[in-house]
Symmetry: C2
Subunit: 198 residues, 2 copies
C-alpha cells in the first residue's frame, strides 16, 4: 500500500523548498489538496510565470522582467555610485531607507566556504565589467556583516582595487552578525552615511 | 522600487503553504529562481498533476487517482472490519505495521474547536453511510491520542453507536499525546491487538 503516484510526486517536489523535509512536505501536500486547492493552483501558475518572465537585469543582476530593470533605467539616479549588495531584499531595504541615490549591483549570493559556495557562485565577473564601465567612480560594498558577508566584501575589494575606483564599505552601524534585511531603516541610513574608504 | 510583479506573485503564492511566512516565502522564491529552476518546474508540474488526478476514494475517502482506491478494491481484505483514521499517513503507518487486514475510512482531518475545525469539517456523513453498508460489523476507531483525536473519537462513537455495529478503540499502547504517524510499528501493532470495546 502506497500513496497514489501523483501525491508522492507532489510530496517529493515540495522537498525542493529550502527547510522543507519529508514530514512537512507531506503536511503541505495534504493542506493544499484538502484545504486550499485554489492556493495550489495559484502557486503552480506563479511558478510558471516567474520561470517564464524573470531574468537577471543586464546591468545590476537583480531579478527583472525586462533586460534592464526600472532602477537601472532611471536616468535621475547618480550613475557614478554603485552599491554592491548580496540579495534583492537588501536592495529593497536600502531603497526603503532612502539613503542611496546611485545604482546597485546584486551579487545574488554570498561566499560561504562552509556551504560550498565559492567566488564562482556569485556574479563577480559581471560586477567586474559593470564597475569598470568608465562611469562608476565609487563602489560601496554593502554586503552583510556576517562571516559570509565579510568574506564576500573581501573578495569584492580584491577584485576591484587598484583600478582607479574609490572603494567604500558601509559603516558597521548595525550589530555584529546583523543582516541588512532585518535592520531598521534609521540604522541602515546611518551606516550608509558613515561609510569608510577601503 | 519594488520586486518585479511575477516575483512578488510567487512570494505571495508560497505563503499558502502551512508554516511559511513572508521571510521564508522570499527565501524559497530566491532559492528556486536562483539555484533550482528545475525543481521549481517540477513543483509546478507536480501541483498540476496532483490537482488534476487526485480525488477522494468513494469508499474510504483517502486520496486516490481512481474512483475506488486499490486497497478498497482488494477483495482479499476483511470486508467486515473498518478502521477509522484521521489522515492518509496514519493509514500508511497501520499498513506498515501489518496489524489490520480489514478496510479503512480516512476522515481527512480531526475535530479541533480551538482551530475552528468542527464536526462538519471531517467526513462524518460519508463515514456514516460507509459504516452502515450492512457488511461492516466492527468499526475500529484509530484516531490519535491527542486532545483533537480523542474529541474526534468521541464524535465518531456518538455517530455510530446503537446501530448494531461493534465499536472499538485501539489500545492506548502509545504515549499520551502521541501521534500514530510518529510511533514505531511494534507499539502500533500492540495497540491494535489490545483494542477495547467502546
Ligand atoms: Zn538593474
Ligand atoms: Zn479507498
Amino acid at each position: 500500500m502506497k500513496n497514489p503516484p501523483s501525491l508522492d510526486s507532489l510530496i517529493a517536489a515540495l522537498k525542493v523548498l529550502p527547510g522543507v523535509g519529508p514530514k512537512s512536505a507531506q503536511r503541505m501536500a495534504f493542506h493544499l489538496l484538502q484545504r486550499d486547492k485554489a492556493g495550489a493552483e495559484r502557486l503552480a501558475r506563479a511558478l510558471d510565470r516567474a520561470l517564464t518572465n524573470l531574468t537577471h537585469c543586464e546591468r545590476c543582476n537583480t531579478f527583472s522582467e525586462t533586460p534592464v530593470c526600472n532602477l537601472c533605467a532611471d536616468a535621475s539616479r547618480r550613475q557614478d555610485l554603485l552599491c554592491v549588495v548580496e540579495m534583492p531584499a537588501d536592495l529593497l531595504m536600502l531603497e526603503q531607507a532612502h539613503c542611496h541615490d546611485g545604482l546597485y549591483f546584486v551579487l545574488m549570493g554570498r561566499i560561504s566556504p562552509l556551504d560550498g559556495v565559492g567566488p564562482r557562485d556569485v556574479a563577480l565577473e559581471k560586477l567586474f565589467h559593470r564597475a569598470l564601465d568608465g562611469v562608476v567612480e565609487e563602489v560601496i560594498v554593502a554586503t552583510n556583516f556576517t562571516a559570509e558577508g565579510e568574506a564576500t566584501a573581501h573578495v569584492v575589494t580584491e577584485l576591484l582595487k587598484n583600478r582607479g575606483l574609490k572603494l567604500t564599505r558601509i559603516a558597521r552601524g548595525m550589530p555584529v552578525g546583523g543582516e541588512l534585511e532585518y535592520v531598521d531603516p534609521g540604522t541602515l541610513a546611518q551606516a550608509m552615511f558613515e561609510r569608510r574608504k577601503l
